[in-house]
Amino acid sequence: MGKKYTYLQWSAVIMFLLSGMMLTAAPDANAGKDLFKANCAACHNKNMKDDLTGPALGGVQERWAGREKLLHDWIRNSQAVIGSGDKYANDLYVKWNKSQMNAFPNLTDDDINSLLLYIDGVFTGAIGGKPVAAVGATSAAPEQKSDSNILYWFIAGVLLILSFMLLKVVKSLNSLENSKDGTIAEPYSFRQLITSKSLVGFALFALIVLGGYTTVNNAVNIGRSQGYSPDQPIKFSHATHAGLNKIDCQYCHDGARRSKHSLIPAANTCMNCHKAIKVGSKYGTGELTKIYASIGFNPNTDQYIANYDNMSEADIAKIYKQWIGDSYVKEKELPALDDNGKIEVERQWAELKSSLTNENKPKIQGPIEWIRIHNLPDHVYFNHSQHVTVGKLECQKCHGKIQEMEVVKQYSSLSMGWCVNCHRETEVKFQDNAFYNSYKRYHDELKNGKREKVTVEDIGGIECQKCHY
């Protein structure tokens, strides 16, 4: 009889402890650090004191003092704030040569608070590094936050003490009861404890739940490849093209606005620029020559090669080896190709050949066979133009910060839940598109305040045959 009380009490204690741990969803400088690294570090100096691509972030809260909500908006989508006509925002924008800051619509208020906590911590020296001469007094906000944290810990502690006390009481009551029966209460041995039915039962139960959860989770994830970032035949860097050089995504992916496919650009799109830029900033001739060999452009003469399709591999090799060699000589300012140069030419040529050919494509000529990263199952219909042209979504929303990726990886899970969630949350630009005029009821409801917004779900965006037909 008494044992039950005991274990009940134990579990109560565990529950309390757990709940105490779960309650700590307050701003956290560590989370802020991760967020900073993931989102901000590319443009903002991590010492928070010096400018980089973007301004130093130290002291940002003072600068936006009293306008915390606006600061949050600014971080989520600076262009929107600029658009709203805020003077400070516009001045800042002009000051920084109108270079746009990426939008981070996914950041929650908690995320931003964590981020600000971290920035302030680094700036004031509270986190890492040596303390700096105080530029301004540390703000009170972080202290307030830690206040509530302490409160949670305090409650948890009190509850813990309470449970121990209760435990003691129950134990005493038990022994009292037992002694009434005349039996002498013997303390449980450890062995008894761990082989008791209840504990074994509980362990089994936990195992099944945990195992089940893991199995289902893994099964659901079969076929998904979030984070997939295969090596491509050409080491094309989005960080260089989209990040550094700020080429618009749709310059190359021109299908995104008008087709279901975003389209990998044809080699002749590359040639628009690389007819002139023949040596790359990172790999020299190593990667760019692959494009020339695919399309049949002779960089020595700046001419397209006639009848390239029927050219033998030896002839092709001659042209491009010469180009690689000449470039090498030019770069090293050598009088002629030296031994190292010859090795380099052969290395680049071998690399080129292995990149442009495979078991199904013996010829060097012809399309570059990229490795497809984003794969949807055949029974899913997805249309880029619907999202880019009509929905006016940023590419980054689904593809992540592509402008920072050296090697592209699959940023989103592309799972159905991920799609559906977004369709549930995303507001349709209802007023901007005449197409939606026929949804009269929604317009009326918006007008008379019965409805705040129309989401994609409201116009049937999570119905099966929007994507499966």
Binding site: L263, I295, G366, I459
Partner: protein
């Protein structure tokens, strides 16, 4: 009349059901010995074994899941263009104007291409000939491009062995023979291309002893010769069925197969619609025939005459018209009493509509056609409903010239025979004779694209391109030109026949070094020809670009045909003489395989013949006899699918039988175009060849015979496949226990107890009325519908109106009066939606997959009934009974009123199919699309080695926007959801409201008569909303309260009731 059935019926089994039929009809799918038997043994029933099985599956499941989870996802590659063409955006369809031409069959089309692959044919609405309509053959033609049986290289036959050769070698050999040959003959079917005719002209100029002979497998020689004699112009005149108030067809299938059916059907339908109930007016159509043709089934009155009485019938009509108009009559052969009485009535109608009537005949007897000309002349139809301006050139064949060729060949005076895409060995009555004569020809060259009976006996095969790979032009009617442009590079090493002829003629105008030599030739031919005849364009380039864009060019030309001349007084003996034989047979062309050249197309083989509703083969149509008092018997007691021995003109065949209402007693009917022996795998040995049963009379082919013998039942057809009794709604039968009439597909509901709403009221599938009482009918209909609606309003469920009235709500209207049952929509649907072909055996098992079927119902007199065709597809019910029985919610409703089917969610319980009152849901019993991983689930449609659709070539025809369904899932009409989504996206991208016409379903665009209208019913201005307002509209099975979104307008008939008396 006692033999009048007030309600519609589907066939003999419906009126007089056998117990097996009731049993089968009550089941969604046929169960018989074909089903894989599951042996029930003691072990399989014991419980312990089941547990062991469970453990086995559990073990396998876990193992498989582990393996699957640890397997790496295969690496997929993405190939961009090297140099992207400006006009192609992958993922966006391009449309090119072109023309479908096969022999004399013509249709102006738009070819839909995706990533450079033609995948769908649409009608070209700019064409004044076909007006945007299509037919089944046109729709299916895109599949021929991807036929795996096409010749892929030029071939040479050397001592019985087929060798691949190079074009250069073939050209050298052929030209050497041409230079030394005595007589050269080019044999073709009708050629519509003026530039091809020019090329033939160059060829015959180069080789003066060359001559071009053309013929048509289903000949119109008699008609052409008659017009030459009557008017001095050997053409088919332009008919205006839309201007005729009274139409008389003598064995002339002008809606299905005769000359230019798409054009005629569109004209015909304009005068058959009833849009204004108060002033209902429509044309009256009499059809005089023995076998029920597609056209006959649409007629208001059918007058039954034996095939041999056709001449007598025409003479009788002539006499009736002439006597009433005071002209001289002739002493024609004797016609049966009933028909000759009817002819008087017909003549009265015709005379009452002088100048607004039309008499046409499909006869191949010149004198009968002259007599028909005379009738039209007497009625003043020339210049009114018939014109020689803009005359049709779609049949130009000459039977006499062909028969002369046979004798020339036999005489050994033909050195070289070039057969252009024709198949005389198969499709001539004396094909065997032709084959023997061919042996005497020195060199035989064929330009066939696929193997044919004629091609295989030729020495060289110079394979032609598919029309979708070729440059060409066509002149279907005088002054109406259209262009054919390639929409894909030739898939194989082939060359269009015009190019071959020009190469062999060593034409100086043909620049073989040009990139596209025939394109240059065609252009220069147009520059010197059509460009000069027009005034709209000043430069050739702008003229050419515009014409190529539109696909058509109108250059009206007048005819030099004179007035009718000639005497008919002595024709009595020249007409076909009625036979005293007890049994006669007629041979007819079907809409699907036509003259047999379409037999290689699986889509057409699987399209049910509209009248007999049979697939994959031809069936001997035998009459159903009426013995009075609702008692029927069939010819010799034969049943559907029985095999008989048929002997015609001494030739014997074993054929299966189909019992056919409307088949005149004492006559039989058998379709042409089947029984190909050398064809692609699809067409090989499907059905029997009846061409060789026809005969040559006075140099012209006659498609009937009176020397017929039929045995009794000698066997049963394996896999008899007629879809008439598949997926029936509300077929009534007599319950064996209660002896009461019940709806057989609700047998279960009845036995469970009365009170089930659907079974206590008569089922309203077809509504029909006579044109004279339309207003009254509309009133009764309205009352009846109110009754249904009142019952339906008594529901516990809440209405979804608020949801459905917001935004778009898709709906469809089908005009049963415009629908002629031609099946174009059905094939268009297969093409658009990747509907699989399942083959004869599977159809036999009720497993056909078509999303859109055309149901055929009879009504009226039992011995000579009227027909109504009803296209039936998913009705997208707002109260869909399929949706609430799905255990996994794989089928549900969209707020736009579309009943959605999600294949990847479906687990195949088939509850939905069971619960669908319209029986429009289809289950993938086998892996019809070869999308599965397990070959054992795949199937074969005609014993082919590589499964149909499994090879990459055939798969190129698939629509990339529609999922290819796997085994074990249900599918059905989606209202072309991919088109709906595309139309909406276009409107959104252009920042505008959806316009009517932005979204058209595939069936709607395919229809030649405009019977189907699709659109947004929330928009009061849309075409479908306006059509839905017609007061003769009804909903099929409205009483079962499923709230369908497809509305039908009632069938209205304009029969001459006095003829029946």
């Amino acid at each position: 009349m006692k033999n009048k059935e007030q309600n519609v019926w589907t066939g003999i089994e419906h009126l007089n059901p056998s117990p097996e039929f009731l049993e089968n009809a009550n089941q969604e799918f046929l169960h018989g010995q074909e089903e894989i038997p599951i042996p029930i043994t003691e072990q399989s029933l014991s419980l312990s074994s089941n547990r062991r099985d469970f453990l086995k599956y559990l073990g396998f499941g876990i193992g498989a899941a582990t393996i699957a989870a640890s397997c790496e996802i295969p690496v997929k590659r993405a190939l961009p263009y090297v140099t992207k063409p400006d006009t192609i955006v992958p993922g966006v369809a391009n449309y090119y104007a072109s023309s479908f031409v096969k022999g004399g069959d013509y249709c102006s089309i738009l070819v839909k291409t995706r990533e450079g692959r033609p995948i769908k044919i649409e009608g070209n609405s700019l064409s004044p000939v076909t007006k945007g309509g299509t037919n089944a053959r046109t729709q299916a033609s895109v599949l021929d491009l991807y036929d795996t049986n096409r010749y892929q290289t030029p071939k040479k036959v050397e001592s019985g062995k087929v060798k691949e050769v190079k074009w250069a070698d073939l050209d050298r050999d052929v030209m050497a023979k041409l230079n030394s040959a005595t007589g050269i003959r080019i044999l073709s079917n009708t050629i519509l291309s003026p530039t091809a005719k020019k090329a033939i002209g160059e060829f015959t100029t180069k080789y003066p002893n060359a001559k071009w002979v053309s013929y048509d497998p289903v000949s119109a020689s008699g008609l052409l010769d008659a017009n030459l004699e009557s008017f001095g112009d050997r053409v088919v005149p332009a008919y205006s069925f839309d201007k005729a108030n009274v139409i008389v067809g003598f064995d002339c299938d002008f809606l299905g197969t005769w000359i230019s059916p798409i054009e005629y059907a569109a004209q015909y339908a304009t005068n058959r619609r009833v849009e204004d109930v108060k002033a209902a007016k429509m044309s009256r159509h009499y059809q005089v025939e023995s076998h029920m043709s597609l056209t006959g089934s649409n007629a208001d009155n059918r007058i039954l005459v034996k095939p041999s009485e056709q001449g007598a019938a025409i003479a009788a009509l002539y006499n009736a018209v002439a006597s009433q108009l005071g002209s001289a009559t002739i002493s024609g052969p004797k016609l049966n009493d009933k028909a000759s009485k009817a002819m008087a009535g017909v003549a009265k109608d015709l005379i009452a509509n002088k100048g607004a009537s039309l008499v046409v005949s499909g006869s191949n007897n010149k004198y009968e056609q002259i007599l028909v000309n005379k009738i039209n002349d007497l009625l003043g139809n020339y210049g009114a409903t018939i014109s020689f301006n803009n005359a049709s050139l779609q049949r130009t064949g000459d039977d006499a010239a062909l028969q002369q060729l046979v004798s020339e060949m036999n005489a050994g005076s033909v050195g070289v025979l070039i057969v252009i895409d024709a198949n005389p060995v198969y499709d001539l009555p004396n094909g065997e004779q032709f084959k023997q004569a061919m042996a005497k020809v020195g060199l035989k060259v064929s330009t066939a694209a696929v193997p044919s009976e004629t091609a295989v006996v030729c020495d060289y095969i110079a394979p032609a391109n598919n029309y979708l790979e070729s440059w060409a032009d066509a002149e279907p009617k005088r002054g109406s030109y259209s262009l054919i442009q390639p929409t894909i590079s030739p898939l194989f090493d082939t060359r269009q026949f015009e190019a071959s002829l020009l190469v062999w003629a060593a034409s100086p105008a043909y620049d073989t070094k040009a990139e596209q030599p025939y394109y240059e030739y065609l252009k220069s031919s147009w520059q010197s020809g059509m460009f000069g005849q027009q005034k709209a364009f000043s430069t050739f380039q702008s003229f050419w670009d515009s014409t190529l864009h539109d696909g058509i060019l109108e250059n009206p030309k007048s005819s030099n045909a004179g007035a009718f001349r000639g005497e008919v007084a002595d024709f009595g003996s020249k007409l076909t003489q009625p036979s005293s034989s007890e049994l006669e047979i007629s041979f007819y062309e079907t809409i699907n395989v036509g003259d047999g050249s379409y037999a290689t197309n699986p889509w057409l083989q699987e399209l049910p013949d509209p009248v007999t509703r049979t697939v994959w083969g031809n069936y001997l149509a035998v009459p159903v006899g009426w013995k009075g008092e609702a008692k029927y018997d069939t010819f010799k007691g034969l049943k559907d699918g029985d095999l008989v021995d048929l002997e015609v003109n001494g030739k014997k065949l074993r054929v299966p039988v189909i019992t056919q209402f409307g088949q005149m007693p004492g006559t039989l009917g058998l379709a042409l175009g089947y029984g190909r022996t050398e064809a692609s795998v699809t067409g090989k040995n499907v059905g029997v060849n009846s061409f060789n049963m026809a005969s040559v009379v006075n140099g012209a082919t006659a498609y009937s015979s009176d020397k017929v013998k039929v045995s009794g039942k000698v066997g049963t057809e394996k896999d008899f496949s007629c879809v008439q009794y598949h997926h029936t709604m509300g077929v009534t039968g007599t319950d064996n226990k209660t002896k009461q009439k019940i709806n057989v597909d609700e047998l279960a509901a009845v036995t469970l107890g009365a009170g089930y709403q659907g079974s206590i009221v008569p089922r309203t599938i077809i509504r029909k009325a006579h044109v004279s009482e339309v207003s009254k009918f509309a009133e009764t209909l309205h009352e009846e519908r109110l009754g249904h609606q009142a019952l339906n309003a008594k529901t516990l469920y809440r209405k979804h109106d608020e949801k459905y009235k917001t935004g778009i709500h898709w709906g469809m209207h089908i005009d049963l009066n415009s629908c002629i049952g031609c099946g174009a929509c059905s094939v268009a649907c297969m093409s658009e939606n990747n509907v699989p072909v399942v083959g004869k055996h599977e159809v036999h098992r009720h497993h056909e997959m078509s999303w859109l079927r055309i149901d055929r119902y009879f009504y009226g007199t039992l011995e000579n009934p009227n027909t109504v065709y009803q296209p039936m597809m998913c009705q997208h019910c707002d109260n869909a009974p399929c949706e609430n029985v799905c255990p996994v919610a794989a089928t549900n409703h969209s707020m736009e009123g579309i009943n959605q089917m999600t294949y990847n969610r479906c687990i195949g319980t088939r509850y939905c199919a069971n619960n669908c009152p319209y029986k429009v849901r289809r289950f993938n019993w086998l892996d019809y699309t070869t999308a599965d991983l397990f070959p054992s689930n795949e199937y074969s449609i005609n014993n082919e080695k590589v499964r149909f659709g499994a090879d990459n070539l055939t798969r190129m025809v698939l629509n990339p926007d529609v999922t290819v369904r796997t085994r074990g899932v249900i599918e059905k009409c989606s209202f072309c959801i991919q088109r709906v989504q595309e139309g909406k996206l276009t409107a959104k991208s252009e920042n505008r409201q959806l316009r009517d016409g932005d979204v058209k379903s595939a069936c709607m665009t395919a229809c030649p008569t405009g019977a189907i209208t699709f659109g947004n019913i929330n928009d009061p201005e849309s075409a479908v909303s306006k059509k839905n307002a017609n007061s003769i509209n009804y909903l099929v099975l409205e009483e079962v309260n499923v709230a369908p979104n497809v509305m039908y307008s009632a069938k209205i008939i304009n029969s001459n009731e006095s003829l029946d008396a």
